[in-house]
């Protein structure tokens, strides 16, 4: 032990005496380990750490599949059938995400919440700070209006009142009794603040009777003895029975079982794994770089190692001594890296949109510390073993003889090892550069996809009319008329419109049929994104009318129902015809009701309803909000403004408050910023991988430079002789540069092969860019060649300046 302490003391002393080596090595290690810590914390916090529920791995999301969509919510009757017939789950629970206006607790505010079955609490095993869940009885009875609130709401609205259970909370103008307070969970429900019994859902009757109305999320807890495969088989059998029993609604509807964690984080798991892969590449490059530094330094310590060997040090002891130095370096780099990783992770969290599940809960925890420790030890071994092995292999006679340094026999071998490490760095750097290039091209392609509307100078915000003041369709319609009219007259506002399903906000889909055309086969019905809009919606968002007209005064609530269709519907169903005057229907006859017909009055271009890389319906249909038979209570107001959208926000809030002081205007935000947030995940991946590849490029360039510098210093006498024999500057230049480029070329070749293999893995995350995109590969290769040339040039120039007389005297 004392021996180890004295070894450590000596090692630290030695490292402190060589700041020119120690500082860069520690910094490189800190960056490598820090980047790995940050990204691992994210991967661990989001993808690996179990959700905060008991036996969270037994939780499954149950989804239905319909042609064109591989993950669809369930309808209520199907849910009940699955719940009754299944044998694989302890229980199932269902929920419907909604928004609520909270009043009586300061300014009215729109908050997120869920209607859910009482069984869902049990399924999740959700803990409670106060009170408890509502039970099944509340599902069956409408007599008690109860609510479970989140810890966040308890703190924000009730100042952590310990007697909050039993108090009342007004949501959408209705009073609910608080029965429990639940701590924050994994943000998987979009940060729900209130949980209400499904029986309180205003349209429960529609839910109960509408088989085919896919709106419910369903979660089940697998029995301990049942495997995922068995559960899948069980549910598939039920699904097939439902297909047979309800052919009009359930034909070609399948069932899918997804581990709940995968469902929560599925959208960005590929991106996170890509980041993890990139950062591991960076760590490997870091290791190679540090190993190179150590090998380079070993030259100056050759005699010391020989003396130690001559004094009796075994190879094992020498190896341990040299490895200990790397361990100390890595330990310091690791501590610094932990600090850097901590800040890096927070920077990434800041750059992430808040609505990405689990990102905001990510923290540097025990797992991160264990990772840092493992990464550090791994780094020390990777970076230290090769140099320690090489350094401890002491051939005593040449170095101990006087003038032994001049007859260094280990140099070519050492150069070879260093060259091998640099070629590896070049290969990994090429992989990272390619990944960054592909992500950039993919992001660019996504970003450059025409949206079909102009989101600039647009302010959007949600208004929710639910409550006793808006009991029916007429009241709601009048309220929307008033709101839009008053907002449109505000100074600086060019136009005010409304949409229930604004692009980039949600992605509901309905099936439709075309009158006069054969009924589509069950399961092959076309789906559209339905949007209830005001007449001027298209002009406010700059969507041109291609044919026909927009909605007008002739389209009264009781007159013929009308629809404006997207151009893709016109192309697919009315090719070569004028669609104006033709009719769509809602396939009501499929569920035993009368078809509702909608006459086409206009055609507009298709717009990107969601992020272009998201799965969504092919078609879009627009209906005037005043013709809907159900009250349109929730809508997004779209304001076209002259100046900065934010500048009119106070006036907008004031105007809405003057119409109804209990009406919240929620989430007033710039539309273009909201759309940018939709790309944020990809943007972040691109940015981080680009940063990593930039770092890798610098490290690889420095590595190549170091090897060539070492080589030139070793070959000074050779250069001197060559110059003395008449070699000219360009001969020497070519000699050194070709040596460097040879290493670069070998690395590049290995990199191209590795990148081509890895491209297959990330192809799924790319948008409109092939994994082996030639432009990206060529650009990455050019950048590397340029960097290699720069790295070669300086040592080469130094080689041309060797004074032959001095060199030969050395």
């Amino acid at each position: 032990m004392r021996s180890l302490v004295s070894q450590l003391r000596y090692t630290v002393r030695l490292l402190l005496k060589s700041p020119g080596f120690t500082v860069p090595a520690v910094l490189v290690l800190a960056l490598g380990i820090g980047a790995n810590t940050a990204i691992f914390s994210l991967v661990n916090g989001v993808l690996l750490k179990p959700l905060p529920y008991p036996k969270a791995d037994r939780l499954m999301a149950i989804r239905q599949t319909v042609p064109g969509f591989d993950s669809f919510p369930l309808d209520y009757p199907d849910y009940l059938d699955f719940r009754r017939q299944q044998k694989s789950f302890e229980d199932l629970g269902a929920f419907y995400g909604d928004r609520f206006t909270i009043s009586g607790q300061g300014d009215p505010e729109l908050i997120s919440g869920m209607y859910e079955t009482g069984s869902l609490f049990k399924v999740f095993g959700r803990p409670f700070l106060l009170g408890g869940p509502f039970g099944e009885t509340e599902d069956k009875s409408e007599t008690r209006a109860v609510v479970v609130i989140s810890e966040h709401l308890w703190k924000a609205k009730f100042q952590q009142d310990p007697k909050v259970v039993g108090a009342s909370l007004t949501l959408d103008g209705r009073r609910y009794e608080i029965v429990g307070v639940t701590p924050p969970q994994a943000n998987e429900g979009g940060g729900a603040d209130v949980y209400l019994p499904l029986t309180q859902f205003p349209y429960l009757h529609d839910l109960e009777t509408n088989r085919g109305g896919h709106v419910l999320g369903v979660i089940g807890r697998l029995k301990d003895t049942v495997t995922l495969l068995q559960a899948r088989t069980d549910l598939e059998a039920i699904s097939k029975r439902l297909n047979a029993d309800y052919p009009t609604t359930n034909t070609k509807v399948g069932i899918r079982l997804i581990p709940y964690l995968d469902w929560v984080v599925g959208d960005y798991s590929a991106s996170l794994w890509l980041l993890e892969g990139s950062v591991v590449c960076l760590l490997l490059i870091t290791c190679a770089n540090v190993a190179n530094l150590i090998i380079g330094r070993a030259l100056g310590r050759r005699t010391e190692v020989m003396i130690r060997a001559a004094l009796g040090a075994s190879r094992k002891r020498l190896f341990a001594q040299l490895l200990l130095e790397t361990l100390v370096l890595v330990l310091v780099g690791g501590i610094l890296g932990l600090v850097l990783g901590f800040f890096g992770m927070h920077l990434i969290k800041l750059a992430c949109p808040e609505n990405i599940s689990r990102f905001q809960e990510v923290a540097t925890d025990g797992a991160s510390l264990i990772f840092v420790l493992s990464a550090s030890v791994g780094t020390a071994l990777l970076a230290g073993v090769l140099p320690a092995l090489a350094g401890s292999n002491a051939d005593l006679t040449p170095a101990l003889g006087e003038g032994g340094e001049r007859s260094a026999t280990g140099s070519p071998l050492r150069r070879q090892k260093q060259s091998f490490l640099v070629a590896g760095q070049v290969a990994l750097t090429f992989v990272l550069l390619t990944a960054a290039g592909l992500l950039t091209r993919s992001y660019q392609a996504l970003h450059d996809t025409p949206l079909g509307f102009n989101p600039r100078h647009i302010l959007i915000g949600d208004i929710y009319l639910r409550g006793s003041k808006y009991p029916d369709t007429t009241k709601c319609r009048l309220a929307w008329d008033t709101i839009l009219d008053r907002l449109a007259r505000l100074p600086g506002v060019n136009g005010a419109a409304v949409n229930t399903d604004l692009p980039f906000r949600s992605g509901a889909a309905i099936l439709f049929g075309v009158e006069g055309q054969p009924d589509p086969e069950p399961g092959k019905e076309p789906a559209a994104e339905p949007q209830l809009v005001s007449a001027n919606y298209f002009s406010v968002l700059g969507i041109p009318l291609l044919r026909g007209r927009t909605f007008g005064n002739q389209d009264q609530p009781d007159s013929e129902r009308v629809v404006i269709i997207s151009n893709s519907i016109a192309r697919q169903f009315f090719f070569g015809q004028d669609p104006i005057g033709k009719q769509l229907n809602d396939l009501g006859d499929k569920v035993g009701q009368k078809n509702v017909l909608y006459t086409i009055v206009g055609v507009v271009p298709d717009v990107e309803h969601n992020s272009p890389d998201a799965q969504h319906a092919m078609f879009q249909t627009y209906y005037p909000y005043w013709q809907t038979p159900d009250a349109m209570d929730l809508g997004t107001v779209v304001l076209s403004v002259e100046q900065q959208p934010d500048s009119v926000l106070p006036a907008v809030r004031k105007t809405i408050a003057s119409i109804d002081p209990d009406l919240p205007f929620s989430g007033g935000a710039r539309f273009d910023q909201l759309i940018e947030k939709g790309f944020a995940g990809r943007h972040l991946s691109m940015l981080v991988v680009s940063l990593f590849s930039g770092g890798a490029l610098i490290l690889a360039t420095v590595g190549l430079y170091a090897v060539l510098s070492y080589s030139v210093s070793q070959r000074r006498r050779e250069m001197g002789v060559r110059i003395a024999l008449g070699a000219r500057a360009h001969n020497i230049l070519r000699l050194v540069v070709s040596q460097g480029l040879r290493i670069g070329a070998i690395g590049l070749l290995m990199g191209v092969l590795a990148a081509a293999i890895l491209a297959r893995l990330i192809e799924g995350t790319l948008y409109h860019v092939p994994g082996t995109d030639p432009l990206t590969f060529l650009t990455a290769a050019s950048i590397l060649c340029l960097a290699a040339l720069v790295a070669c040039l300086f040592p080469a120039i130094r080689a041309t300046r060797v004074d032959p007389i001095k060199a030969l005297r050395e």
Partner: protein
């Protein structure tokens, strides 16, 4: 103690072999003090490194303390060297980053001598050679003579039966050289076998006999 039979050392060149040592037959008895002399390139240092078990690339038979070195594996040679030999270099080869104390302690630590024993052995050695005051100094803070003194203390601290010295006074002025040679004489009189390489007839006179080399051959 040492017996060499037809030991040869050569390097392979394009056109054949270049011999550094030819047919060396040498016996060194315990308590002997041998000086190896000869012009530059005669093979003196090569011979010393073979005797010191630093060099394993040679042919012939070599017995050290009755152990057939030519048959031993690398690890066994290292152990033999560690146990029985001490080496003194012309340019001292002290480790610059270790103090005098630590330099002297090093061979003991490599022989796995327990820490408490090491401390007393090193302190005794410092005392015996009157360098207690220098124990915490670094080599760069010592004169050449002092450095060589420390190097000799380091070579003998583990009490080897054989000391091999390669031009031990080559970098010292005459007064310092004399002191070092006196020290060798004293160690030899205490029973330590010494083989030194030297150019100096005066230094060689401190030994009991001289072996002369020329072009790799041992002069009869």
């Amino acid at each position: 103690m040492i017996e060499l039979k037809n030991v040869e050392k050569s390097y392979k060149l394009k056109n054949g072999f270049y011999y550094v040592l030819r047919q060396i037959n040498l016996t060194v008895e315990p308590g002997d003090f041998v000086s190896v002399m000869g012009p530059s390139g005669a093979g003196k240092s090569t011979l010393l490194h073979i005797l010191g078990l630093h060099d394993a690339e040679w042919e012939g038979e070599f017995y050290l303390l009755d152990q057939p070195v030519h048959k031993l594996k690398q690890k066994e040679r290292v152990n033999l060297r560690k146990k029985h030999t001490g080496f003194v270099f012309q340019s001292y080869h002290l480790l610059d980053d270790l103090t005098v104390y630590e330099n002297i302690e090093l061979p003991l630590s490599y022989r796995d001598v327990p820490h408490s024993q090491r401390e007393s052995i090193v302190c005794d050695a410092l005392d015996r050679f009157n360098i207690v005051g220098k124990r915490d100094l670094f080599p760069s803070q010592l004169s050449g003579g002092q450095q060589q003194l420390v190097a000799i203390v380091r070579a003998i601290v583990a009490k080897p039966e054989l000391i091999l010295a390669d031009e031990p006074t080559g970098n010292l002025h005459s007064d310092q050289a004399r002191e070092i040679m006196e020290l060798f004489k004293r160690l030899n009189s205490e029973g330590t076998t010494i083989v030194q390489v030297t150019h100096s007839e005066q230094n060689a006179s401190y030994g009991k006999r001289i072996v002369r080399l020329k072009d790799g051959w041992m002069e009869k």
